[in-house]
């Protein structure tokens, strides 16, 4: 009895969480408002499982495997776009991204470069491709260029963020040894950032493999182009083959590239440990 009476006042008061409560009610209101405002016949959703089974069986019960060679050819075209786009994009982003990092480039150079990256990030790849196709036509080359230029937006940002978060010891050492700007970048910065940049470059390739399928929608060729055509013609047995090809190829590329990236990053870590001990 007395023990209880003593313990009760010690218990801290429940924190007042008025702000949290207001925030969560606001979020809930926004979500409910969006659900109500959206012009969707939600009762259509009830048919969806049936539709999925129906179209799923049309696509996958008897896929038209005679389309496989053509599908693989178009996939190779998409992967080619992705590869060349990644290569060009990474080279451009590295050249533009390193001067845009704090401590490397001067402010008058950094700000315009960062502005450029932000603008490119805002423009969807499809719109970039629409501009480029007036120059190079509806060709896979347009796709590769669109991937390269569209990729600069995010990739150059990752590049300067990598540079800025790199440990500065080596840079200081080279500077103290009398190295100029180029020597500092080559011997102080590059050895520190190159593993991460290589890993990011491979990641850019993985992203491009997916995006190249999207670019096919506007007609630059590749697996996305084929998929749109056959979906619009409702040839579901071919669409099934194409989806299987997309999934298998993307997962394989992700797995291989992921393994290489892990090797790059962990290899770099092990070397770091060796040096410090």
């Amino acid at each position: 009895m007395t023990a209880l009476a003593v313990r009760a006042p010690i218990a801290p008061p429940r924190p007042r969480r008025l702000a949290v409560r207001i925030a969560s009610w606001t979020v809930a209101a926004v979500v409910v408002g969006a659900f109500v405002g959206l012009d969707i016949e939600w009762d259509k959703l009830a048919d969806l499982p049936g539709d999925l089974v129906h179209y799923g069986s049309l696509m996958f019960s008897d896929p038209d495997w005679s389309m496989l060679p053509e599908a693989l050819r178009q996939t190779w075209r998409s992967v080619s776009m992705a590869w060349l786009g990644a290569l060009l994009g990474v080279v451009l982003s590295t050249m533009l991204g390193i001067p845009a990092a704090e401590g490397v480039g001067p402010l008058w150079l950094r700000l315009p470069l960062r502005g450029l990256f932000a603008i490119i990030r805002a423009v969807p790849e499809v719109v970039i491709a629409i501009i480029i196709l007036t120059v190079t036509g509806l060709t896979p080359f347009t796709g590769a260029l669109a991937l390269a230029i569209g990729g600069i937006g995010t990739h150059a940002k990752w590049t300067y963020e990598t540079v800025e978060s790199a440990p500065g010891g080596a840079v200081e050492a080279v500077r103290a040894g009398g190295g100029g700007l180029l020597a500092t970048i080559r011997w102080g910065l590059w050895p520190v950032i190159s593993p991460e940049l290589a890993s990011l470059a491979l990641y850019r390739f993985e992203i491009n493999v997916r995006t190249s399928a999207i670019l096919g929608l506007i007609g630059v060729g590749g697996i996305g182009d084929m998929l749109t055509t056959y979906t619009q013609h409702r040839q579901w047995d071919t669409v099934g083959v194409l989806i299987i090809v997309v999934i298998v190829v993307t997962m394989t590329i992700d797995a291989v590239s992921g393994a290489i990236r892990r090797r790059i990053m962990e290899g770099a870590k092990v070397r770091g440990v060796d040096r410090s001990s």
């Binding site: 969707i40 259509k44 048919d47 992967v79 080619s80 805002a122 719109v127 929608l217």
Partner: protein, 275 residues
């Protein structure tokens, strides 16, 4: 004399560690990259035909369009409000549904919260497959299935968001400190109780941050979903593109940029509050 100096040199040489031989590996990597590049740039093998002549000949076309885009035509703005609102609603609904689905799925896909290997592997495999299909491919197929409108767009966003949110949150659970969960187990809790009372509160910040991130991505994606008829402002982009109204197109892009920046700022504030 000569003997002594050569001895000293020999001693010094022995002390300096051998320069590591990295050139064979560098050569190998560069070689593989070069071969892959050459293969992908060979039109005869189905690769990309690099046509630099076209750039030299037609670059003015592209420059004209960019010049046109640099003078946005703001008179199109009143027509954009309705599609923009639809885009935002789709983004929020997609993020909300996927957020609800992601809670049990990420618990299922992480090792500490689901020690049973078969179900964990199954969930992970299905999610990998979902992630492997690009978003607009879903949209194209769903539009053909359920018809034009916001519904295929929302389903696309849900599939896309579930893929990334579950991957990132389950990885956060995997790498989180499991001391609390061990305490729960030591106290005799069942796996469900442990997940609900220790793993869930622990991953809450990571989870909210990923959901906000998916909301940002949704606005960007639903800007282009309209190109295939899946609702939102992309429909307008497609229309303006069809009429060669590049000045109006850039107005829409600008509008999306402002909305995205606004959402990014808001979610950054929320994220900071959560930490």
């Amino acid at each position: 004399m000569t003997g002594a100096s050569s001895l000293a040199t020999a001693e010094r040489v022995a002390r300096i560690p051998a320069r590591p031989r990295t050139w064979p590996r560098t050569l190998g990597v560069v070689g593989v990259l070069a071969v892959l590049t050459a293969l992908t740039a060979t039109p005869a093998l189905g690769g990309v035909e690099i046509d630099l002549g076209a750039i030299a000949k037609n670059w003015t076309n592209g420059a004209d369009r960019i010049a046109q885009m640099l003078t946005p035509d703001l008179s199109v703005l009143p027509r954009t409000w309705q599609p923009l609102l639809e885009t935002l609603q789709m983004a929020v609904v997609g993020a909300a549904i996927s957020a609800a689905l992601a809670i049990p799925l990420s618990m299922w896909a992480a090792r500490p919260t689901n020690p049973r290997t078969p179900t964990r592997m199954a969930v992970r495999f299905v999610l990998n497959m979902i992630r492997a299909v690009p978003d607009l491919v879903y949209a194209t197929i769903l539009v053909a299935m359920v018809g034009v409108g916001a519904l295929p767009g929302v389903i696309t966003l849900v599939l896309f968001d579930v893929g990334i949110v579950v991957k990132l949150v389950s990885e956060a659970i995997d790498s989180a400190d499991s001391a609390y969960m061990e305490a729960g187990r030591a106290a005799g809790g069942t796996q469900t109780q442990i997940n609900r009372l220790t793993a869930l509160p622990q991953t809450w910040p990571a989870y909210v941050s990923q959901v906000l991130y998916s909301l940002e991505l949704n606005v960007r994606i639903s800007a282009i979903l309209g190109l295939v008829g899946a609702g939102g402002i992309g429909r307008l982009i497609d229309e303006m593109r069809g009429f060669y109204r590049y000045d109006a197109l850039s107005t829409i892009v600008l509008e999306i940029l402002i909305v995205v920046v606004f959402i990014e700022l808001a979610s950054n504030i929320l994220r900071k509050r959560l930490r």
